[in-house]
Subunit: 228 residues, 2 copies
């Protein structure tokens, strides 16, 4: 999702490309950068702003699969797939700058330098891990479990029981792949059960233990736990 250390993104042959003005294109907030179903011929790379990848269905429902912040390559795997039709829609969540690198240029880089090659392979491998994790989440986790997992993770990163949601409820619902009122309902239930204290985007975890139990599927629908 975010830009982690990667041998491909750091290799000189690639970084030098990111400085070529001619390769960069700007998109305004809300613009669609690449439509689901269209062929994907050149690697797009987010160099400024925030970009998301969503699966849309004909009825207009959608699932946000990923958000990309600089410097992140978009769909490095699909570029080389037998069917190189993009399975997601790429949207600018803010004003963004996108770098474009042809498939052939990528191949040339990969062939030249083993570190680059390993780096690129780990980029595509990480996508597979991410998608597999999404499937696990979608099929095996209830909405409450998704909330629990998400909040516990945020809280751990921040080292505090109080977190501020970086997204709107609607954005979050798309990220979880659920309906917005359903997310609202489950959040309210957790608040009713005094597990969470919710004030707009500010959420305090009141009973971390309970939240962990929920995440692990140790509760049914009732919350008969102690404090903690």
């Amino acid at each position: 999702m975010n830009a982690a250390k990667n041998k491909f993104l750091e290799c000189k042959i690639f970084t030098s490309l990111t400085e070529e003005r001619s390769r960069i294109r700007k998109y305004g907030k809300g613009t669609i950068i690449h439509f689901q179903g269209e062929e994907y011929h050149s690697l797009l790379v987010v160099v400024e702003g925030l970009v998301s990848a969503e699966i849309h269905d004909p009825q207009g429902k959608k699932i946000k699969l990923e958000t990309f912040s600089p410097v992140s390559p978009i769909a490095p795997g699909i570029l080389f797939a037998t069917d190189n039709t993009l399975p997601v829609t790429i949207t600018a969540e803010s004003d963004v700058k996108i770098l474009s690198v042809s498939k052939q240029d990528i191949l040339t880089i990969l062939q030249k330098d083993t570190a680059c090659l390993e780096g690129y392979l780990s980029l595509t491998g990480d996508k597979i891990v991410l998608l597999a994790e999404k499937i696990r989440l979608f099929k095996f986790n209830s909405i409450q479990q998704k909330i629990a997992g998400y909040l516990l993770n945020l809280s751990k990163k921040k080292g505090s029981n109080h977190v501020r949601l970086p997204y709107t409820r609607e954005f979050l619902a798309d990220l979880f792949g659920v309906a917005r009122p359903s997310l609202s309902r489950e959040l309210s239930r957790l608040a009713d059960a005094k597990i969470l204290d919710i004030k707009n985007k500010d959420i305090t975890i009141l009973k971390k233990r309970a939240l962990n139990y929920i995440l692990e599927g140790k509760f049914g629908t009732l919350y008969d736990y102690d404090n903690g």
Copy 2:
């Protein structure tokens, strides 16, 4: 899923490896070849038999993501992921022979030959396409839509309205990621509506048009269609 033409699998450097006896290991039907959650260090390749990849959850529910028939590499992407923990369990569906190739050997091959490199990248890219498609299927398609899609596809391949299911109901339910009785119920409903004629594993599509409508989500729960 099946072994399609691929530049990596066909390149000589790789095919010569498949002849080295010492690299091959046998597994009996039902054996687990690699556990979900364990690190994946060498590329495994199915050279004989049938192998499946499933996501398991702690409660024992499972989703079959893929089946591999010879010659198919298993998880070529994860091999190079930052977190190279396998997100799926690899199971022998029959007696199988598995070839093992070290990560380093793969890198060497890819560096030597552009065709191999492109081939390997398309293998991993195709996995991403497959997983994205699974997500779409899981989130946006009802059980009836999955059945419709599956049968129409089988029927198209065979060029006949009569198909024979290659799997048991249980296997199919896992493939669809649904409960077995749920799949049974929906199959029965389609039979009740005279859209399908079902006799064990032999299914005849009686109303292809209706099935297409279902697939496209043009029906609610009632089937008020014409013939065809």
